[in-house]
Amino acid sequence: MSRNVNPFEVAQAQFDKVAAILELDTPTRELLRTPQREYSFAIPVRMDDGKVRIFRGFRVQHNDARGPAKGGIRFHPHETLDTVRALAMWMTWKTAVVDIPLGGGKGGVICDPHHLSQREQEAICRGWVRQLARNVGPVQDVPAPDVMTSGQHMLWMLDEYEAIHGGHYPGFITGKPVGLGGSQGRTEATGYGVVFTIREALKLLDLRPENTRASVQGFGNVAQYAIRLYRQIGGTVVCVSSWDQGDQTSYSFRKSTGVDPDELVAITDRFGGIDKAKARDLGYEVLPGDAWLEQPVEILMPSAIENQVREDNVGKIHSAVRLIAEGANGPTTPAADAEIDKRGIFLVPDFLANAGGVTCSYFEQVQSNMNMYWVKDEVLGRLDATMTAAFHAVADVAKRRRLPMRDAAYVISISRVAQACHERGWV
């Protein structure tokens, strides 16, 4: 691959831009531009056919000035160290923007689980932990599921870790099932987090939730819980869009009197695909996939996949729209971003809006370390407090520094990390 698409260089360039805004000193820039620690190692695995294959594993701990490094472990056949470095850096900023006491890390193994049996995958997980058992842990570096890894992989890793250390350390890893060290509220966390930021943003825009309408792209887990909470605070969702597996296209479902998530969930598959015919029976208009964007509503919640609001369709956004909250990762392209900014629409960037997930992981780790688990309300209550505080901190910087919200979020997180490094006397 050519050099100009190296993701680590992209991440570094982004950092450099913010470092300039913050006028960081050279040693701090040098420290934060590159990871603190990198591990690259071989994992020998005896395959089902008796042969041994060597897999390559990584762990990058970008920064742990604010707390133990936190980040996922990916199984990907084309994993590169530079990708892992970039992702580790982004984790540092992400934990910092919601102000939770964790750093940033990322790891992975070069492999494609599609070509591996369960037993072989277990051997890789255990091999990964054996190589790093002394360098990761509840007080050093806390892994989590990522691309092509699941709670099952985390449990194998946890078991190996505990076997090596001779005790129970559920705080070593997150993404565990409830009952085996997992946290309540994980299902709701991201969707609710989006709405906590919406609620706060509406206050700044001087809008009452009950006087607002919203249109949502996607009807997966994040969208479903966001819609529920938004209705609870008084808003009306008039349109949702969803991907239709059978037709291989998306449709928008509109009901001007308000979408009822319960009736829709009953006719929705696991991937957020809504049954068209049944939706019609329930009184929904079935419109083309892009129609969600054109609705006369105050709030848009793109909560499906990346690159959905682009240069070619950003013009279709209705003039009534005041607020966009990015429930998905990267739903808006840079060109569209500029247009949204120009039109004065308030944008809650993905980085902040969907940070409910990582916050809940933090809560899982806290509970695991205490070996005492909260009821769901307590988890969600704490999530509200964390998200609300994070939102206002970013909004405050945006206002004071006259920055777009996205830039402000980076500014505040990098600033927090830099400050921690300073105070520890590292730089």
Binding site: D48, H78, H114, S150, G151, R270, F271, N307
Partner: protein, 1053 residues
């Protein structure tokens, strides 16, 4: 071989059987007498015990003997009036007697109820006993003397001299031949005497007929032969030879019965029955006799296909055919075979029964109870109902066949079966009482056309409930309907296309119990599926072709047999059960079965029902339910351990427990391996499990289905016409007539900015909607559809590639290593279900051709097709093969057997190719027919269209009808260029709608494909045309341009 002057067949058979019994008895007596160390009492009692076996009615036969002062009687002996007796003499002095009694009256024979031969047998036994007792008395007889006195074979000969001189003559002849063959001169001399012409083995003059030689030696020669024999052969060998010949002689009746084509079935069954009761073990016959008999039986009952006969005769035993024959329901004069499906399954069943080394694995694999109606049953049915004219229907116009077919079905259903068939079916219904039934066709043509032909005829499920007369009526109805399907339009069209129309189709019927159990009001197998020896859809480089493939579903296997548009079966490779297609919870959920097929016992109908609802309602009582499902818990997929709540847990069918915790996979692997080895070809099977046992439902050679046969790869392809070759991970398949190649240049793609990579995916998606369906090939770097890092492969979803014919992933050497390819895992099952071929290319491998200049330097049509993506022209190349390669198209030939594939330029499908290719790819229609008709119809429509009345500026044909690749289900794409005023549009739409419906009906009559309308009309305006927007871009386009259709009155405008 009729022998009119001889006694009736029955009589001969009976006599022979009796003779055999007598001889067998004599051998046994002889064996006892030769046994050393027995007391006189033991000796006599042992002889008495075997004596009855030589008599006609052994069950009611008892023997006793008086030897000196001692009377020896069996337990419970009772003297009656029906007695035969012979004296025992020792050196001329009476010593006692042997008596044989019948305890019940029997029909009159030669001597009371006894036969004359039985008297001679009794006398012989008494005489033998006397000699041995004499030997005991003197106690001085040397062993040598004894042997000389009475070697066993002499006794046998003596007995035959008295009872069966013809048999003796045949033995004499065989002995002479045997001695000649052993190189004994005296015997050759004897042979010359009995065979005029010198007994020479070579003909004297090849043009002169050989003189006839008697096959039965005369008494004198026979005696001479048996005089010579002991001089050269030991006694034991002579005895063994004689015993062997007599046994073989006993099978002659069966050979005659089987070889004669006019032996009616009941007589054949009787002959088989006699063979079984004759007490001959098949293995005691010479190998030649065994194989000869078996081959004849295979030809008679199963097929005359040489390959099949050859294999079957190694496996099937004579008694198997008796078992088979007893389950045949046939008209009295039937000589028919049971058809391909039945024969394949019967053979497979016996292979499994006899497989050695796999008993523990194959022990619980069974064959469902089956009954057969032979293939000539349909002729009997037609004749019985005076329907003979139906045979000529196949020569009618296809439209008429289709129109009249529903009537024909009713005609058949209202016809009658002969009383013999009805009697037979009554037995079937008793046997299958309380079980749903499937009535399947078992066509003779399947043997010739291969499995490609199967599936053309009907299979019908019956719930088999109600009173016996209701069940009978449902069964005869179903058989009549299956019979009618022989005359349905689709198979007739298929036969016509392959030159089999003039052959009478005879179709056997296979009546089988449906494997399964009742759950709620449904009847279903717990799971079912199809299996293949060769895996033609490998999702990982680690899976070998020989690892096989299973497609499994819950419920009836109908959903696994066909490729499904809206649902997915579970795929597993028995050789690599750990490597699952779907790894994450999301994948496993998306690609898992959502529906299941069942028989509803309350309505008596076949239904598809929702799987989740079924599990929630009945999960607790479904056997093996835990083995079938996994629980989805957030991102995690786990096997049920401990409590399982079928209502609340989010369940998804994965068969995980079945695959990883039970011997199911090793069992299926052994099953496929044994069948493949014994049948000497990869196989394609259907199976089902009732919750306890696994049943084999069908077995046929793999290939020919879904175009999965290996394609021959010509050795002499001109190098300049080869665009690429592959020699790793190749599956079988053939894709012809590719008109467009979409090539994503790996190097240029690697150089592209991150943000532009997604545009490449979007461009491919647009091309997918623009290029002719199933006539273009996609090639690109790395992993198509990669969800993680988009630089690893073009970011597309299945929707973006759904119309491609082939998907090719290119792995180029970079930085010293070749990256892993995805094997299409991101949408693997979608590729399988829609028959999109996958091929990995490794251009940097030695001995591989990759004509890179063709792909990167041919004129690129991207900018013309998609002007908005023109700036991607360095990366995405769209090559119009026909215009670049002088009218040639691209063909991809894939041969998994050789692990080789080639992409080669060639002429569009030729007739010769159709002939060979059609069998390989049966779903392909003759390409000419459908598009020509559509073009003609479009022209006709245009002629009728009044452009002024409707405000039409011009009319164009686009799409498959224009591109000459329309299939029977293709629509006709019209492009209507309207004048700016829209006045006429509503009226025009209504006018076109009328055409559309009429054409759809006409198309249905031609092809049997039902559609609501056949026209797909696109309206474009001046502005669209000026801007080249959407479909309007095709007007005057460089590639795939719209074809103008002259409208009515066009000349006057």
């Amino acid at each position: 071989m009729s022998r009119p002057t001889e006694p009736s067949m029955d009589r001969v058979l009976h006599d022979l059987q009796e003779r055999a019994k007598e001889l067998a008895c004599l051998y046994r007596v002889d064996a006892i007498l030769a046994r050393p160390g027995l007391s006189v009492e033991d000796l006599v009692r042992a002889v008495l015990a075997v004596v009855p076996s030589g008599w006609q009615f052994p069950d009611i036969c008892l023997a006793r003997a008086q030897v000196g002062p001692h009377l020896y009687e069996p337990e419970g002996f009772r003297a009656t009036d029906w007695v035969q007796a012979a004296p025992i003499t020792v050196r001329g002095q009476p010593m006692g007697r042997v008596e044989v009694y019948y305890t019940e009256p029997r029909p009159h024979g030669d001597e009371g109820p006894f036969l004359a031969e039985e008297r001679r047998l009794l006398e012989t036994i008494a005489e033998r006993l006397g000699r041995v007792l004499a030997g005991r008395e003197t106690a001085a007889t040397s062993p040598a003397q004894e042997a000389e006195q009475s070697p066993g074979w002499r006794v046998v000969l003596e007995f035959l001299r008295q009872t069966d001189r013809v048999l003796l003559g045949r033995l004499g002849r065989k002995m002479i031949n045997h001695l000649c063959w052993s190189g004994i001169d005296e015997a050759e001399e004897l042979l010359r005497q009995i065979s005029p012409g010198g007994g020479a083995l070579e003909p004297i003059d090849e043009n002169r007929p050989l003189p006839r030689a008697s096959l039965v030696a005369d008494a004198e020669t026979t005696e001479a032969a048996f005089r010579i024999a002991p001089e050269h052969l030991p006694d034991e060998e002579i005895l063994a030879l004689i015993q062997g010949w007599i046994r073989e002689d006993k099978t002659t009746f069966l050979k005659h019965a089987v070889e004669r084509l006019d032996t009616p079935l009941p007589e054949l069954v009787e002959a088989l029955e006699r063979f079984r009761q004759g007490g001959i073990e098949e293995r005691d016959l010479s190998v030649a006799t065994q194989l000869g008999l078996r081959a004849s039986l295979v030809r008679r009952f199963l097929t005359d296909q040489l390959g099949f006969v050859n294999i079957s005769k190694q496996v099937l035993e004579v008694n198997d055919f008796r078992e088979l024959a007893l389950r045949i329901v046939a008209p009295a004069r039937s000589h028919g075979r049971i058809g391909g499906k039945s024969a394949g399954l019967f053979l497979a069943g016996k292979i499994l029964e006899r497989a050695t080394g796999y008993e523990d694995l194959l022990g619980r694999i069974r064959i469902p109870r089956s009954w057969y109606i032979p293939a000539d049953g349909i002729l009997d049915f037609i004749a019985h109902n005076d329907l003979t004219e139906v045979h000529n229907r196949k020569y009618l116009d296809p439209d008429r066949i289709r129109l009249e077919y529903p009537h024909l079905v009713q005609l058949f259903k209202n016809s009658y079966f002969s009383s013999e068939i009805l009697r037979g079916l009554a037995v079937v219904l008793d046997d299958l009482d309380g079980r749903p039934i499937i009535v399947r066709s078992s066509s003779l043509l399947e043997d010739r056309l291969g499995s490609a032909f199967s599936g053309k005829y009907k299979s019908l499920f019956l719930s088999n409930t109600g009173s016996k007369s209701e069940r009978m009526s449902a069964l005869t109805d179903a058989i009549a309907e299956v019979y009618a399907s022989v005359f349905s339009p689709d198979p007739i069209e298929y036969r016509a296309r392959h030159g089999f129309l003039d052959m009478h189709e005879e179709m056997g019927i296979l009546i089988q119990e449906v494997v399964g159990r009742r759950i709620g009001s449904y009847f279903l197998p717990v799971f079912a599926g199809v299996g293949f020896s060769n895996n033609e859809f490998r999702w990982s480089a680690r899976i070998q072709r020989e690892d096989g493939l299973l497609r499994m579903v819950v419920g009836l296997g109908t959903r696994a047999v066909d490729r499904l548009a809206d649902d997915y079966p579970i795929l597993v490779a028995p050789g690599q059960p750990g490597l699952r297609v779907n790894q994450t919870a999301d994948e496993a959920t998306r690609y898992s079965p959502k529906y299941m097929d069942v028989i509803n016992l309350e309505t008596g109908s076949f239904e598809s029902i929702d799987l989740r609802t079924f599990l929630a309602e009945h999960g607790e009582v479904i056997p093996l339910a835990r083995q079938l499902v996994s629980i989805v818990d957030h991102d995690q997929l786990r096997r049920p351990t401990g409590l399982l709540d079928f209502r609340r847990d989010e369940l998804v069918v994965t068969f995980e427990g079945l695959i990883s915790e039970t011997p199911f996979m090793p069992r299926m692997r052994a099953l496929l391996r044994v069948l493949r080895e014994q049948l000497e070809t990869p196989v394609d099977i259907e199976f089902a499990c009732d919750g306890e046992d696994i049943y084999l439902l069908q077995c046929r050679p793999q290939g020919a289905t879904h175009g999965d046969a290996p394609v021959p790869i010509p050795r002499d392809l001109p190098r300049e016409r080869v665009l690429f070759t592959a020699n790793r991970y190749v599956s079988n398949g053939r894709v012809g007539d590719i008109t467009h190649v979409v090539y994503v240049d790996p190097e240029a793609y690697g150089r592209l900015e991150l943000a532009r990579l997604r545009d490449v995916g979007r461009a491919v998606g647009r091309l997918n909607r623009t290029l002719p369906k199933r006539r273009f090939l996609l090639m690109g770097p790395g992993r198509w559809g990669s969800r993680g890092d988009v630089r690893l492969g073009v970011p597309v979803t299945y929707a973006d590639i759904s119309n491609a014919a082939v998907l090719i992933e290119i792995a180029r050497l970079s930085g010293g290593y070749v990256p892993d390819l995805s094997f299409g895992t991101h949408f693997f099952q979608d590729l399988v279900e829609s028959s999109i071929r996958y091929l990995p290319l490794y251009p940097d491998d030695p001995d591989v051709i990759f004509a890179e200049p063709f792909f990167s330097h041919s004129p690129n049509a991207l900018a013309d097709l998609l002007p908005e993506f023109a700036d991607l022209a360095d990366v995405v190349h769209v090559i119009d093969v026909r215009s670049v390669a002088e009218g040639f198209v691209l063909k991809v030939l894939m041969n998994g057997d050789l692990d080789q594939a080639v992409g080669v330029l060639g002429s569009p499908a030729t007739v010769a190719e159709e002939e060979t290719g059609a069998l390989l790819a049966p779903q392909r229609e003759a390409p000419d027919d459908h598009w020509r008709w559509r073009l003609r119809m479009a022209q006709r429509l245009a002629e009728q269209l009044d452009p002024i009345r409707f405000g039409v500026r011009a009319l164009y044909l686009v799409g498959s009808a224009k591109n000459a690749n329309a299939g029977p289900d293709s629509d006709i794409d019209l492009l209507v260029h309207l004048v700016p005023t829209e006045d006429g549009r509503g009226e025009l739409e209504a006018w076109l709608e009328g055409w559309s419906r009429a054409l759809a009906e006409a198309n249905y009559l031609r092809t049997g494909v039902r559609r609501e309308g056949l026209l797909d009309v696109h309206f474009v305006t001046d502005e669209d045309v000026a801007r080249g927007r959407g479909v309007a871009a095709k007007i005057g386009a460089i590639t795939d341009a719209a074809r103008p259709l002259p409208t009515g009155g066009a000349g006057t405008r």
